[in-house]
């Protein structure tokens, strides 16, 4: 028992939780932005892969790290645009289009990677982002190593949460996004463009999702390999519901999941000798499902989510 308590007392546990949560924060913020405007983006899993590959490839080809981040965001925006065109003006099924984008983006990323590196057996590494050394804060006892020795992308993720919350609740644009996800007719009757808003949020949201993928190759693993996204995109879709489409709660959900995951890794080393490791691997997902059941039953869905809008039809 005291061993388990010790896990929570260690700074490295919290640092790991935040590190694991970072790609999820990007993903859930991106998904939330899309869904707030009424478009479910199941392209997320593929967009993660595309972001991971594009960012890594740019750096490997000689771009700077921030150049890589930009390329990843552009790649995400590109696949977001495909999804947006299919689902917003054309009004196709958001599920089908999203899964199509995931399959397309994933395969295309693998294809490009294989074409560029036909013979490598172990994935080449890049010089990735290093933890920031923030004066004073990083040197605090316990809090320093737990919270403030992260790479710049983690801080970018946290900044995006705050920025998204501000835009959503404090600006005219945010009001319009909230309204278009609830009742597109309200937006049109006030002289705004439903298609413009929805396409804009899907492209922007997808670009942010792709940063989650870029974090994996440019901050966590320093390399790109097949299957590395490993369902993180789908987790973000669930976390969005868990968060009731609110940025603050989205951050909380991502951190909670990160903590579960960091905890199960440490628990394996404690009691792994007599319980198979797969049980621990399952744990974060089981706990997410349990949390979803508790929270999401009361979820306040954007009313127009999944409903395409056609002008002049009501």
């Amino acid at each position: 028992m005291s061993d388990i308590l010790e896990i929570f007392m260690s700074a490295s546990f919290w640092a790991a939780a935040i590190r694991i949560a970072t790609p999820l924060i990007f993903g859930v913020v991106g998904a939330l932005i899309c869904e707030r405007s009424g478009v479910l983006n199941l392209g997320i899993e593929g967009i993660f892969t595309a972001g991971a590959m594009a960012g890594w490839m740019a750096v490997w080809l000689g771009a700077g790290l921030w150049g890589g981040v930009l390329v990843a965001a552009l790649a995400g925006g590109f696949f977001g645009l495909i999804h947006a065109v299919l689902t917003v003006p054309l009004g196709l099924s958001q599920h089908v289009s999203g899964i199509g984008v995931t399959l397309f983006a994933t395969s295309l990323s693998y294809f490009i990677y294989r074409t560029a590196l036909p013979d490598v057996s172990s994935p080449p590494r890049i010089e990735a982002f290093q933890p920031l050394d923030i004066p004073v804060l990083s040197d605090l006892p316990f809090l320093g190593p737990a919270l403030f020795q992260q790479t710049p992308l983690t801080f970018l993720a946290l900044f995006l949460v705050a920025a998204t919350a501000y835009v959503l609740y404090r600006t005219p644009l945010g009001l319009a996004i909230q309204a278009v996800g609830d009742n597109p007719a309200a937006v049109e009757s006030q002289g705004l463009s439903v298609y413009g808003l929805r396409m804009g949020t899907v492209v922007a949201g997808s670009a942010i999702m792709a940063l989650g993928g870029a974090f994996l190759t440019m901050s966590a693993f320093d390399a790109f390999f097949f299957g590395m996204v490993n369902g993180r995109g789908w987790i973000c879709i669930a976390l969005t519901v868990f968060a009731s489409w609110r940025p603050g709660k989205a951050l909380l959900g991502a951190l909670l999941f990160g903590a579960f995951d960091a905890f199960q890794v440490r628990l394996q080393t404690e009691v792994g000798s007599f319980i198979p490791g797969q049980v621990f691997l399952m744990m974060p997902y089981l706990l997410s499902i349990a949390a979803l059941i508790v929270v999401a039953r009361r979820a306040d869905y954007p009313r127009a989510l999944l409903v395409p809008y056609f002008r002049g039809q009501r």
Partner: protein, 515 residues
């Protein structure tokens, strides 16, 4: 009603508006002027093209021919960019749609603010907006709490928000599409008082309606549309209701006369029935229906009528109370046992619950009788017999269709209702449940529905008529009960009731308070 000055400037002109949808001409060269300070009623039946015309004015549709001209303040009229709600708003045209265009997840204030600020602005300026709105509310009498979420508002309050939205944008012309459809008579009176005040302050107002009484009471001028064309444009003082009805329909209108009935024994009893949980629920409902009478249930939409109809139809099991039809107790009934006990159901949403759109007319006509020997033998359907029977019913009920094998979804609303009537009344049921039977039907189909219901009453059936149309209830019912927030009042003879009393009860006032 005080007329606007003769030389008041024209605010808005529709010039030869024509709009076609395929073969249908929804608007046929319509011309219309609206002056400052004037309330214009646009009168017409369903499908006459009223809403289409207003949607063109507001930029939801683009007209095939003709143009919309608006005053730009200096008295000159200039054309409005077609197909752009944004341009209409900029030019001072505000529209209150029949189905409200509000985001329910936002506050009243945010809904009004929506779209009034540039999207690139970094901060919504809510404080000055609040001041302007508070000023507008005191001057116009439109009171609503600015910080409430729209989802918590009543229908009347939502409508006020819609009007405030237009006023906040300094609208000069206000268009309201069927504004009283969702209101009680008293709420309607309040609305019209506010509209009059706004007109006196210099707004031009157009309201769409098919209710003759309110058009006569609340407008300066009346334009009548029929089949997409304007057939009359008269000062209200020169009109009377009969003349308007004929203009609207295009031929003489014969009034349906109820005549005295001969109510017999009690047929159908509900005792203390409660069902449902949320808003659409009923509580402790008592009701007794006699043979040979029509019992009307009045109420504003959303007060439990739908649940009451579902319970009686056997689609919802009440958690308390009991139902009896004749000798049978039917508290745990399902749809099949209710039909077998002799109940005919005319559902509220005939497209969704009345027919299966993809199936043929003859299949739809047989659908409640498929277990009877004239429709099936040894578990196999007898299509030939079903078709033959369908042909007879198509003749008897004048169902206009491409034959008994055409899919039911291709029929018009009126003909779909005739399928429902034919199917349910053909079996000579003891009790007829008619939920909103004339909703959305034109005058011809409506009078056919009335005739069939009165015929059922004449042969001794009990008819339960659930309706939101007070005129319809007063005309057809022998007795009327009022449903409000799931509670049903005692039924009283129609002769002892008037519209005012019913209206107050629909708004929740008890009998004592009404006197």
């Amino acid at each position: 009603m005080a007329l606007p000055a003769k030389d008041a400037p024209v605010l808005l002109r529709l010039d030869g508006i024509t709009k076609r949808f395929g073969a249908l001409t929804a608007n046929d060269a319509v011309c219309l002027d609206l002056k400052q300070g004037e309330i214009l009623a646009l009168l017409g039946e369903n499908g006459a093209g009223k809403t289409t015309l207003m949607n063109i004015l507001f930029g939801h549709y683009v007209a095939d021919e003709g143009s919309v001209l608006v005053s730009r303040g200096d008295g000159d009229l200039s054309p409005l960019e077609p197909g752009s709600p944004h341009a209409a708003l900029e030019a001072g045209v505000g529209m209150v749609h029949q189905h409200f265009t509000l985001a329910e997840n936002l506050s009243v204030l945010d809904n009004i603010l929506l779209g009034t600020e540039k999207l690139s602005t970094l901060k919504s300026r809510r404080a000055p907006a609040r001041r302007k709105l508070e000023d507008l509310m005191t001057r116009s009498g439109l009171a609503v709490s600015l910080d409430m979420r729209v989802s918590q508002l009543s229908v009347g309050e939502k409508q006020r928000v819609e009007i405030l939205k237009a006023l906040y944008r300094n609208a000069k012309v206000l268009v309201l599409d069927e504004p009283t459809a969702v209101l009680t008579p008293q709420e309607s009176d309040t609305l019209f008082a506010i509209l009059k005040k706004l007109a006196d302050a210099g707004l031009g107002i157009i309201f769409i309606s098919h209710k003759l009484a309110e058009v006569m009471a609340a407008s300066h001028r009346i334009a009548v549309l029929r089949g997409g064309a304007k057939v009359a444009d008269l000062p209200t003082s020169e009109c009377d209701q009969r003349q308007l009805a004929e203009l609207m329909v295009g031929h003489e209108v014969s009034e349906t006369v109820r005549g005295t009935g001969a109510p017999g024994d009690t047929l159908f009893i509900l005792t203390g029935v409660s069902a449902g949980e949320s808003r659409e629920s009923i509580r402790d409902v008592n009701l007794d229906l006699r043979s040979g009478e029509i019992l009307g249930i009045a109420g504003v939409s959303g007060n439990g009528q739908t649940m009451l109809a579902r319970v009686i139809s056997g689609l919802e099991t009440p958690f308390a109370g009991s139902m009896r039809l004749g000798e049978r107790t039917l508290t745990q009934a399902n749809a099949r046992t209710m039909i077998d006990a002799g109940l005919a159901r005319i559902p509220e949403d005939r497209h969704r619950d009345g027919i299966v759109g993809a199936m043929t007319v003859s299949e739809n006509l047989a659908i409640e009788a498929i277990r009877k020997p004239d429709c099936q033998r040894f578990g196999l359907l007898r299509f030939a017999a079903m078709r033959e029977k369908a042909r007879a019913m198509i003749d008897a009920y004048d169902i206009r269709c491409q034959g008994e094998d055409s899919p039911a979804r291709l029929l018009s609303g009126g003909n779909i209702q005739k399928i429902v009537l034919a199917r349910t009344l053909e079996t000579e049921p003891k009790v007829v449940l008619a939920a909103q039977p004339s909703r959305g039907l034109d005058v011809g189909a409506t009078s056919e529905v009335y005739r069939r219901l009165l015929a059922a009453r004449a042969r001794g059936a009990g008819v339960l008529l659930i309706s939101e149309d007070l005129d319809e209830l007063m005309r057809l019912s022998d007795r009327i009960a009022v449903i409000h927030r799931g509670h049903l009042s005692d039924a009283e003879p129609t002769e002892t009731l008037d519209r005012g009393t019913l209206g107050l009860r629909m708004a929740g006032h008890t009998m004592e308070a009404a006197e």
